[in-house]
Subunit: 257 residues, 2 copies
DNA sequence: CCGAATTGTTCCACGTTGTGGAACGGCAGG
DNA sequence: CCTGCCGTTCCACAACGTGGAACAATTCGG
């Protein structure tokens, strides 16, 4: 390990060509299929001509599909890669999630962090035939969800400011925490307890508990959650699942990292 | 530059840095999670030091996870991206596939081409509770499957030689076509009819029909297929689904491209 | 239907960045 | 102990990406 100072140093603005490519690829992959060039350039934080050139390369290889005049969508090659990645890790992950689902009887989610949001990657539905509006690939805000609060709580102060500054504290329900002070208090509590609760803060009638997945350096990678319908599960009942959720989180960290 | 002797002429373009990055990313995404550096470098067709540098960049951004000592696996960020891509296109795709499944009553697959193989990206199971050993993300050979033959049939001769040279014509069942001449005849037939049949050539007791998805330039992007258990569906019966499969393929081409 | 604002695309001189063969150290298997 | 193989580091060279600015196409508003 040569003397790498933990801070950003040069990488702050753009840096590596490969890095830009990754950010562009990520931007193209965002929901809302056909994206415009300017939009992608902005999202990726890359100058317009560079984005154009990179997207051209992607298009040549079939990673993105160019819808004519400056509109880009994920291409077949990227879709194939996505299917491979999504299908491969299912070895142990689904097992752990299914086990958790059996223990608690409610819908179980795994979400991974992607910048200033989290993305559902796995889901095990509850036995009860209750509507769950979530879907794999759907992304959720960090400030109003149990999963998101787990992530935020374990970010460095610097990065947290960055992320919250970019995403804002949008009100999602009457219970959503929209004050930064209040959120910070909550996050301290999350760190202390090792799990987070969402008491109808993101969606009315939905309560969740979540526990964070931390990598070897302590950075939050994502979180597991249990979601219950409010009139079936009290706040106390949901919170009582915390031990099981934390256990699952630890198992998943072992499998995923 | 390395003056390759006939065998593997793909050295066509290692020029672009982004291109190399893409190939490396693809190599990391392949099934069999922790890959070794040399393996990735070979698969991607990139010199070892370059692969190392690129993987380092990926690791910094969480796209791959470095298992220490030259072992790399898809990272959280890549998984999140994969979930987004896989989840987003479900708009119309699943509808079309479900419609096809209703018409034919058997298991329906969508696979996309990735280099010298195809990858299942979508699946709608048959009503009948029959084992189907396929899974999203699983990859299948091109020469012994209906889906693969659709792809091969619509490749340029040059690229077909390349692909078949790399992958070979491995025998999968007694019925597998392992002679290049015979395969070429079959592929001409596939082009003529607009669909391909797999009569227990890839897996014993499984018969399939497939129709290709062609992009605007006529290149094969993937294929849709219907798979039936051999002792329930005769070759004639499976082949009778061809019109429906072709129809679905056209609908999907419109949605995906 | 036309002009104005926005967006996609091309160009190009500049120097930063990636490049990859070769050499080094570490690890395993004979 | 020696012998491959593999991951990692090094470095001189120039190719490649870079991005501001100019240009073309398209959209929007009146």
């Amino acid at each position: 390990m040569t003397a790498e100072t933990g801070g950003d140093g040069r990488s702050s603005s753009s840096g590596n060509a490969v890095e830009k490519a990754l950010r562009v690829l990520e931007a193209v992959s965002m929901p809302g299929a056909p994206h415009r060039l300017a939009e992608i350039a902005a999202t990726a934080g890359v100058p317009k001509p560079s984005a154009h050139r990179i997207l051209g390369t992607f298009a040549e290889r079939g990673f993105v599909h160019s819808h004519g005049g400056g509109r880009y969508a994920p291409g077949p090659r990227l879709r194939a890669m996505a299917a491979q990645v999504a299908g491969d890790d299912d070895r142990g992950v689904d097992q752990v999630l299914a086990e958790l689902q059996r223990q608690v009887g409610h819908t179980v989610h795994l979400a991974l962090r992607a910048g200033d949001r989290a993305v559902y990657t796995h889901k095990v539905e509850a036995d009860q035939p209750f509507r769950t509006s979530s879907r794999i690939g759907m992304w959720l805000p960090l400030h109003s969800t149990a999963i998101g609060k787990c992530v935020l709580a374990h970010l460095g102060v610097l990065e947290r400011d960055d992320v919250l500054g970019a995403a804002g504290l949008a009100r999602r329900t009457p219970a959503t925490i929209t004050e930064r002070d209040e959120l910070d208090t909550e996050l301290a509590e999350v760190r202390r307890r090792g799990y987070a609760v969402d008491d109808e803060e993101n969606e009315a009638s939905i309560r969740c508990v979540a526990a964070p997945l931390l990598d070897s350096s302590g950075s939050p990678v994502g979180a597991v959650s249990v979601s219950g319908v409010a009139f079936l599960v009290s706040r106390e009942q949901i919170e009582a699942f915390a031990p099981e959720v934390r256990h699952a989180a630890h198992s998943l960290a072992a499998v995923l990292l």
